[in-house]
């Protein structure tokens, strides 16, 4: 279980997170929604320690993340970045097996390659993709490779940052289905950041809406369409009219 208690983060005068309280139960899929620039990505980067919160406590399974040995802590996580964040200089299979080629999870090279090809197959990519470089792949294929990398070491916790951004609706559907299937297979706890409502409905067990630096609303996916919260209603409907200010 992941818990965030009164987490704050500011960049200069820009107060991005202003007291986040959120609980993500073990083995569930939580989707964080919210407008662009509301700090959704900062939220997961705070959990991973990529960004240091100014205040507040973040725990994983009841243990403060700042007190855990860094390598062992990070070995429990997988992450799919918004732009894929694949390493340009490495072939696809070495990207997928990156964690298996070095550090505490190191395996023999042949075994790591075999696992990488298996994970690529799991996300619908043929073995011949393994020896290509990321720049030779389409956006959708890069997302799949990034997904394969996120699950390669079968982590307990996976974060997905805008998994369908920049993809066509069909490819978005494929990625959503893959995420749902794979998470069920592994039994991982996941947090997904998105403002794609199709993804939300496909992936989420529970939804949290981030607005003005705080969790405005949180609840099960089934309550998303029936909530009376005007912010959530406006966001879900995509209406420019409502309490969320829009620039025109």
């Amino acid at each position: 279980m992941i818990t965030l208690s009164d987490v704050h983060k500011a960049f200069g005068a820009n107060k991005v997170l202003q007291g986040i309280d959120l609980t993500v139960p073990k083995g569930t899929s939580t989707v964080v929604i919210g407008g662009s620039g509301t700090g959704k990505s900062i939220l997961i980067k705070c959990i991973l320690g990529l960004v240091e919160p100014d205040a507040g406590v973040i725990t994983v399974d009841g243990v403060d993340v700042t007190t855990q040995p860094r390598d062992a802590f990070l070995a429990r996580f997988g992450m799919l970045f918004q732009g894929g964040a694949l390493f340009d200089s490495l072939p696809v299979w070495q990207n997928v097996a990156f964690r298996l080629l070095r550090g505490s999870l190191k395996r023999p090279k042949a075994e790591a390659r075999e696992i990488a090809i298996e994970k690529l197959r799991r996300v619908g990519l043929a073995p011949d993709v393994a020896d290509r470089f990321p720049a030779e792949l389409s956006g959708g294929m890069q997302k799949r490779v990034s997904l394969a990398r996120a699950i390669a070491a079968e982590p307990e916790i996976i974060f997905f940052d805008e998994p369908t951004t920049g993809l066509d609706p069909i490819m978005s559907g494929v990625i959503n289905d893959l995420i749902r299937e794979i998470v069920a297979e592994i039994g991982a706890t996941t947090i997904t950041i998105t403002h794609d409502m199709t993804s939300v409905r496909a992936i989420a067990d529970q939804v949290a809406m981030l607005h003005a630096g705080k969790i405005r609303w949180a609840g099960p996916i089934g309550d998303l369409d029936t909530t009376s919260d005007p912010y959530v209603r406006q966001f879900v409907s995509g209406s420019p009219e409502g309490p969320i200010e829009t620039l025109r």
């Binding site: 320690g49 990529l50 860094r70 390598d71 992450m79 964040a85 694949l86 070095r102």
Partner: protein, 258 residues
Amino acid sequence: MTRILASIGAAVLSSLAALGRFVLFTLGTVSHLFRPPLYPKELGQSLMQIGYFSLPVVGLTAIFTGGALALQIYAGGARFNAEAVVPQIVAIGMVRELGPVLVGLMIAARVTSSVAAEIATMKVTEQIDALVTLSTHPMKYLTLPRVLAATLVMPVLVGIGDIIGIMGGYLVGTQRLGFNGATYLQNTVDFLEPLDITSSLVKGAVFGFIAALMGCYYGMNSGRGAMGVGRATKNSVVMAAVLILASNFLLTEAFFSA
């Protein structure tokens, strides 16, 4: 008046903060040398990129500089009947100063810029964050191999540059200025001292360290987007060149001030 003093104070504080960040970055890089794991494959790739692939530019720079130096010394020496000192001055000029400095500046242009641009691009595309989430320390994986490789390989490049530069002077001296080949080489060998060569190689190591470190530092601290990458690249080359020239003065002072 208060406003002027406040802005001066802010600039001083900002500069000191930047200096502090740079010192911490440098110490952090060096400290990773003594903390496993090291990445020998990345070190090998950096040695090839910084060393082997820089040989053509180093060779071309050195041979033309050596040749031009011979012509200048001959023309200048002719004013007081000292044309015969061409081999000695070419040798001392190349080995003590021009070899290490020009190779250092060429490496700053070729390596510092590419390292800064590569790492800055990795930063803006979240590849650095991805490294961290994959339990890999970016400084250990990206910075240390490049800085270590540049420090190790630069003395070799400078040594090669020195030899090629002297050969440039030799070619001009023998083909254009009428020097006897054997005498030219004998004068060169007789005149050079071990300290000249030692200082050249030490300068090479220091310049290599500076060149790679500046590329890594500005890459890791780049701003967002294409503008951030461009600014990081430009600043890294400028700072590397300035620091190479400044450290050259200090090293020359340390080695040769009697």
